[in-house]
């Protein structure tokens, strides 16, 4: 009996002896993988002066929470204001990049795999610890500076960051990479996005909303939606709601169930994805008019009232001069007023007041 027991235990011990301890060695198990395929002909889409595709890659870019300014989303009060909005306002429903995650080489019509070995960090998750979500767009770009990643661009007036006095100056370098497509460009078009959810899902969240669609599943998933119109979105926002998606165009898939297809587009249509935004707060910064005439964007400026969502109160009599950024890739506006403070144009004790004696170049009324 005892011998039989030893005979039974011996193979177990031998098997145990053959075990291989790995400790901390070995490849990290991927947390998730996404299949991506890129379609289209890049030759006719290349910007002027670009004759080749250097290194086509796809990157997973987590989205940022960002609010446009009221001037950009409310109906323009004049044709000049409409022109300034067109030139200086980013698509208020567009995808705004926050953090570039993993990337991989990709070729036309050849599926590529993007593998994540780390979860998105807390700074890209929106919500509290019981219900938070992150969305990402898969961005196809020509890595022309061989960094292996998509270089996001920061272009905005320097006074926002450094509190420097004087007229705004553009900081940020020229974008080296050329973006040719993305799975999620704007909420006003059909999109396919990567989602990562922890805990519950808040249906009322306005973070890249998909009202009318099923919520993302916990963990990673691939979502699709048909998009909504800008008019519907503004109408919904003014009533405190969310624009509705067409449920028939919504899908929620596991990452391994769906290949995310991206079509090539002219870089001018998608380059804004590479622009980062100032997200310290959502306030509009105002500048006092300098003594000299600033660059007025070749005459593309507007004199407009201060915008407000409050339709019940009387409109401010203060007129602002709004000047758009002078060119691509990133859009922004510069606001000048004759009276006000940098953080609050309606401050009780203004930092500057030129209403009695505007500068000679001031093109707007007092």
């Amino acid at each position: 009996m005892r011998r039989a027991g030893i005979i039974h235990v011996a193979p177990l011990l031998l098997a145990a002896g053959c075990g291989k301890l790995q400790g901390f060695d070995g490849e990290a198990t991927p947390l998730v993988s996404f299949q991506v395929v890129f379609h289209g002909d890049l030759a006719p889409l290349r910007p002027p002066g670009v004759t080749d595709t250097h290194a086509l890659r796809v990157a997973l870019v987590w989205g940022a929470q960002w609010l446009t300014e009221p001037f950009c989303v409310l109906p323009p009060e004049s044709p000049e204001a409409a022109a300034v909005i067109a030139a200086g306002c980013r698509d208020p429903f567009g995808f705004v990049s926050n953090v570039v995650s993993v990337g991989a080489p990709i070729a036309i019509d050849v599926p590529a795999t993007l593998t994540l070995s780390q979860l998105p960090a807390a700074d890209v998750l929106v919500g509290d610890v019981t219900a938070r979500v992150a969305y990402a767009s898969l961005v196809v770009f020509d890595d022309r500076n061989d960094t292996g990643t998509l270089d996001l661009w920061q272009q905005f007036p320097s006074f926002i960051n450094d509190d420097r006095e004087g007229p705004p100056a553009i900081i940020g370098r020229d974008p080296p990479d050329i973006i040719y497509g993305a799975s999620f460009v704007t909420m006003t078009e059909p999109d396919r996005r990567v989602a990562y959810r922890e805990g519950d899902f808040d249906d009322l969240s306005a973070f890249y909303p998909r009202a009318g669609c099923d919520p993302p599943t916990p963990g990673f998933s691939v979502l699709a939606a048909g998009g909504f119109t800008a008019q519907a979105a503004v109408a919904a926002l003014l009533t405190g709601g969310l624009p509705q998606e067409d449920p028939s165009l919504c899908t929620v898939s596991a990452p391994d169930e769906r290949t995310i297809a991206i079509d090539a587009r002219p870089p001018a249509d998608v380059h804004e994805i590479g622009c980062q935004e100032i997200r310290n707060d959502s306030s509009v910064h105002y500048l006092e008019p300098p003594p000299w005439r600033p660059d007025l964007a070749n005459g593309n400026f507007a004199c407009a009232h201060l915008p407000t969502f409050d339709t019940g109160s009387a409109q401010s009599d203060l007129i602002q001069l709004v000047v758009p950024s002078s060119g691509p890739p990133c859009k922004f506006l510069t606001h000048y007023t004759l009276r006000g403070c940098r953080e609050d144009v309606n401050c009780a004790i203004p930092d500057w007041d030129f209403t009695a004696s505007p500068p000679a170049w001031w093109p707007c009324g007092p």
């Binding site: 145990a16 075990g19 790995q22 947390l31 070995s117 963990g219």
Partner: protein
Amino acid sequence: MRPAVQRCFLVAAIATLALTASAARARAGDGQRPIDDSWPVQSTGPLAVDAGLVLALPATWQTGLSSGIGAGVTRGRRFAWGVRGSWSTATESSLVWTVSHDDFRLRAVAALQQPAGRGVFALRLGLGPTFVYEHRTRNQGARAGLTGSDLETSALAVFPGADLEGVVTLHIVGRWFLTISGGPTAIIADGALHGGWTALLGAGWQP
């Protein structure tokens, strides 16, 4: 668990020192009863059984602290022989993995013992297998929805090992004693010798 074990070690060590000091005072003090009268020792046999808390360097790691329990039985007087076993566990993390190792040490031991008053000094050599059960968990894997072997893996391996420990035993009262031991250990893994150390603080019974 580990801080609790360390606290137990500290308390037991302090208690041992206090008892030793008490015995010394009892012998030196005038008008006090000898400690042998107050706490008579009744152990006379060759058999000794002990158990206690174990602290050790993890068998296959050169870092961390493995804590657990151990026990053993020996027979003999000047020369004793017996068997011992211990289990201790340690958990460490990297950016990607959380790995725990459960070390099971089985030893056949031989000891040279020298009585000294109420105590016994010994040098103990142990030979035998060390089983290591490894459990690895992919960090962030559960939050990402991984399951099965993508999330967790385990393995069991056995290595030949040897311990050389110094042992101090102090008889307290009746058949009970406190024991403390410690010394270097070694296992052969992947064709190489891996050194370490182990220590035990416990209590025992000797009829």
